[in-house]
Symmetry: C2
Amino acid sequence: MSHSSTIHESLTAVFQVRRFPDIIPAGQEDISNSGPATRRHPGSEHTELGVLLWQRAMDPQVGTWSLPGGRLRDNEDLDTSARRQLAEKVDVQQLMHLEQLSLFSDPHRVPGDRRIASTYLGLIPLTADPQLPSDTRWHPVSALPHMSFDHGTVVEYARTRLAAKLSYTNIAFALAPPRFTMSTLREIYCAALGYEVDTTNLQRVLSRRTVITPTGATAPPGKAGGRPAALYRFTDSELRVTDEFAALRPRT
Amino acid sequence: MSHSSTIHESLTAVFQVRRFPDIIPAGQEDISNSGPATRRHPGSEHTELGVLLWQRAMDPQVGTWSLPGGRLRDNEDLDTSARRQLAEKVDVQQLMHLEQLSLFSDPHRVPGDRRIASTYLGLIPLTADPQLPSDTRWHPVSALPHMSFDHGTVVEYARTRLAAKLSYTNIAFALAPPRFTMSTLREIYCAALGYEVDTTNLQRVLSRRTVITPTGATAPPGKAGGRPAALYRFTDSELRVTDEFAALRPRT
């Protein structure tokens, strides 16, 4: 059978937990029977998982938003290619974690020449604030703009993988600042998982598995006063499975 | 820059825990000061993880052993392609699990045209005995034959991934028979992990996480007599992470 040209590309979903302005959904700006408690105030913000997207200035699909990525070169492997493409959109020094996800190989995923996409998950910690080029912006994952091709599906896939890995690895090290209070860590988990988690449970589980370690220091009290909060750090800064069956490990 | 032809292929490491004849390593057949306890007897066997390989009848690398796989067609995605290629070497009905591993994309991984390999892990249960074509054979992973290209590295990668997943998922369901004693399950874990595990610990951990469920039935006693052993089954027959942080799940 004939083989037309096939292009290999990388596509990376770079996530960061960020503050985003609250947006009142269209059509709900003035629901007359909603009480003051349900109204959003201009200038108010919330914390959410953000994804880095750039807007296409040319066809195909001009104006839609794309994941960073591009074509594999003859002289590089896919990991090298993904990092090179990413560096055009964000300071890769700020990337704490980058891992291969799945291949998107549907013959019809993009029009024209076949493109096989090797997808990646990239993570940037809460406190980093990388410079972005003018075509690039953070978007909250709950309100993605009009996405190019199947890039919205890639974001969903990456987000699902991140949530799964939060449950059995220490991957949150790459979303957290170097030192943090449990309250901050809870905010990161809630944003990345998309649902509420309990601070006490989180601390208990992560401490028992030695995923996090107390630093001995405390954070200065906030405006409301109260007891100073203990500061923690992640025990490791490389990905590891945090709950291998201890009983199954070889005896050393 | 110019782009020469690039081929995309699938390569699958199909594993099964099997009985293999004991082999006395060359040069150790007759060590005069080894006692009778260390001598292997002809006809003796051991249980080990096996990998399905076929021997190349043509160049390049005629005579070396390869993983099942081959070139992606224009009209199929990679998962479909991997299954199609596998079907030439083994009855895919017997495959209990197939998952994408990593991409092997080093520009120089094979001579000639560039080939990007999408690698897969496939698992066949202990009691299956699929028919094989004449060029195909099971090999113990501890004694691989002369392997083609980087296929030996792919086997190592797949084996490492399997061992990791045994520790935090129920993936052993795809290596075990439908019903099994703890003694059989221990043998499967030992073979797949490559080190000894304790039956009592294994049963305790897997039961607590509801990875396995007692069937209520027992196996007939062996030749040595003794108490009949309880039969278990895997609770699920699809891959799942067996130790998500219960505390972090959304309340239902």
